[in-house]
């Protein structure tokens, strides 16, 4: 009896193990034949984009469904939206790409990651599709589409206009400390004027922990923060140049003398913004479209003041340029999609038509917002799920809205002309931005992540003063040898 029970137990365990292992088989079956494109059936597509991209940043699932419904109606598709939280978007996308590549997906930091994604075969060439997309080609500068090519083929389209950052300063602190800065000061002028704010109970300049913002301070010295392109069109290590060392020494001096936020290494983007609009900091580096945002937020916390931009710094040899992020986020079509044309139609509608951009930035009237006395007002449901109806978000997209159909609040209406002036001016001071093609150097593709981490690490050590420039670069040169950096450049320059 006992023996029989033992044998039964063993058989049961074996069956469980086999069934679990059976779950590891390749799923070659096609679950259905979903894409019958009969005239009445909608094409099924999956669309992966972060949770805040579906109507004014509202994260309520029902409100997102409303946006989904509108897109489906306009493009005759049956969308499955995958909207992971922003903070985990890359984790989710990278997991999906290994097996269930969404038909349409957003890629962040495209200047670095698109090349790798294309090299791995996740993205489809859009050369044929872009020919039928005058909505895109009429608005996007061909130079920026070139940034998104891999082996000469277009693999993505931009989600936003090229982004750049400027320094925003509080006028009240400037006046109180007698700071007199032009909008394009020299590095020496910047240092001398910002020093006046040291010890005055305010952080003269706060900076985020993300060191890929350092190009704002590299450009004035003629340096490049990463693998750059020289005047002969050859790739070189921009980080290991006398100009880069000079730039880092300058930043380290700003830090050592208390001009640079001593806690910058822990600052998230939200923290630097809070420090500036609350008056804890006098200036920070942020996007060109932040003027109205800072005015509004500072008013809310009873710390209202005017904000002025510094577009760029001019170095000792006349080099200049702001932080040019070029194309940050892009939209790609899956290499496995059965309906690339429909996928492109969705992209065109949602990002390159006025109606689509309004849908993305404002949501659906009656669900996300209402118009009362000619002014926009968020519904309660939307307001409580993080909704923002913000004119700044419209500035990020290519289609320019000439008629919103309502008036913004009085402050926004009053400040909008100045905001537009700042945006236009910022675009005249763009710094350098180079694209390194993926798939050309196996060493580069393999070591890109480690390279970026290393230059951030060395930069932070030099700025914080935990190492000198000489010792920091000694360590960097050892790292460069370990990743066969010279060979990597040779491969890129072939």
């Amino acid at each position: 009896m006992i023996k029989g029970k033992k044998i039964c137990t063993l058989l049961l365990c074996s069956v469980m193990s086999v069934s679990l292992l059976g779950g590891c088989k390749n799923d070659k079956q096609v679950s259905k034949d979903p894409n019958n494109t009969g005239s009445e059936e909608r094409v099924k597509l999956t669309f992966c984009m972060s949770q805040t991209g579906w109507g004014g940043e509202a994260v309520d699932p029902e409100l997102m469904k409303e946006v989904e419904r509108i897109i489906e109606e306009k493009t005759n598709t049956d969308l499955t939206i995958i909207a992971p939280p922003q903070s985990s978007y890359n984790d989710k996308l990278n997991t999906l790409l290994t097996s269930d590549i969404p038909d349409i997906f957003a890629v962040r930091k495209a200047m670095d990651t698109l090349q790798v994604m294309a090299a791995r075969g996740y993205t489809r060439s859009m050369d044929d599709l872009i020919k039928t997309a005058p909505e895109i080609t009429s608005l996007v500068d061909p130079k920026y589409l070139d940034y998104l090519t891999v082996d000469g083929k277009l693999h993505a389209v931009p989600m936003y206009v090229p982004l750049s950052k400027v320094i925003w300063l509080r006028k009240d602190v400037m006046d109180e400390c007698g700071v007199n800065l032009s909008q394009t000061p020299t590095t020496e002028e910047f240092y001398n004027e910002m020093k006046k704010m040291v010890g005055k109970g305010v952080i003269p300049f706060t900076f985020p922990k993300f060191l890929d913002n350092l190009p704002f301070f590299f450009n004035p010295f003629g340096a490049y923060y990463g693998i750059g392109v020289d005047e002969n069109g050859k790739f070189y290590d921009g980080f290991n140049t006398p100009e880069a060392k000079e730039a880092l020494s300058y930043v380290a001096k700003l830090y050592a003398e208390g001009i640079w936020d001593q806690e910058f290494i822990t600052n998230e983007n939200a923290i630097i913004r809070e420090k500036l609009f609350s008056g804890k900091a006098a200036s920070t580096l942020d996007y060109f479209n932040r003027y109205i945002y800072y005015i509004n937020e500072s008013e809310k916390v009873n710390a209202g003041t005017e904000f002025v931009p510094v577009y760029e710094l001019v170095g000792p040899r006349g080099d200049r340029g702001n932080l040019n992020e070029a194309i940050q986020d892009v939209l790609c079509i899956s290499s496995k999609t059965k309906h690339p044309e429909k996928a492109m139609e969705v992209i065109k509608y949602y990002f390159y038509t006025m109606e689509g951009v309004k849908l993305r930035c404002l949501g659906v009237e009656g669900k996300h917002f209402t118009i009362e006395d000619g002014r926009i007002k968020a519904t309660e449901k939307a307001a409580n799920s993080g909704y923002k109806s913000d004119v700044n978000s419209f500035l990020l997209y290519y289609p320019k809205i000439d008629n919103y159909g309502f008036k913004w609040d009085e402050t926004t209406e009053r400040l909008l002309p100045k905001q537009m002036e700042y945006v236009e001016e910022a675009n005249k001071h763009l710094g350098s931005k180079y694209l390194v093609p993926g798939g050309k150097s196996a060493l580069y593709d393999k070591n890109l992540s480690a390279y970026k981490k290393k230059i951030d690490e060395i930069s932070s050590k030099i700025i914080l003063g935990t190492t000198t420039v000489e010792k920091g670069y000694e360590e960097y040169e050892k790292f460069w040898k370990s990743i066969k950096g010279d060979e990597m450049l040779e491969q890129l320059n072939k």
């Binding site: 137990t9 063993l10 590891c24 088989k25 940043e57 809070e274 996007y287 409580n384 993080g386 978000s393």
Partner: protein, 290 residues
Amino acid sequence: MKRMNSGPVGYVSVGRKIFNISNAVFLFIVSMVVLIPLLMVIVTSLSPDAVVAREEYVLIPRGITFDNYIRIFKSGYMSAFINSILVTVAATAVSMLLTVVMGYAMAQKDLIGKKFLIRFVVATMVLDAGIIPFYMVVKNLGLIDSYLALIIPAAISTYNLILMKNYISSIPTSIIEAARIDGCSELGILFKIVLPISIPIIAAITLFYAVSHWNSYLNVVIFINDSSKYTLQVLLRQLVYQSESAISSASALNNFKMAVMIMTMIPVLILYPFIQKYFISGIMLGSVKE
């Protein structure tokens, strides 16, 4: 035997007094280290935006507002809360059932292949293929976008299983043999003899599983596509980190983040006092070997 505190009854020596005072001061400092940050979190969560924006730390309330809590409740908190409750209760029940049954089986001295089974189980603590193979297995089981993806793959924690196995092994075999002699089946022994004796370890492991499933975030993000099925942790993290996007214009103040922290802690804080006494004794009992 010489008493340490020699003297009349009630007499407290100077050394003892010094020790008591030092002990009290030390414990007071330790409790302040724990309580002051908690106080700061609570006070900040109730403070208006203007106060939080101006101050580095808010320990003394300067104006009280419940706006952030109201915002959390109206943000879809209840539906996400219900999702979390469903997942936590179901996952904990499944986990406990499987852990108890497997722990009992592994505790049997005459189990065929016991050594191999134990090594096989312990190996899972050390070897981890990573998220991609895990995702592919779950996907091939057809569990993507289903709550089963949060329940089945994480059903048994090896650590908890070993605790259970060790505790059951410590039960005197004479009790079990007596039950067998009386004609009790194995299932009967498990449910009528072993489980009632194992209440402390069951309470402790239930708490471990419940907290683990309640706090589960990455599995929800990876396996669930439909945002209406997101649990509370995902919703609240998204609300907190909305302002972290480089291009977002969402507000960034700490009072809302603190309110979120309080709301995620509350359910666990409510549960803990009911099983606290089992929790502490259960941890130690599980480690006793025969």
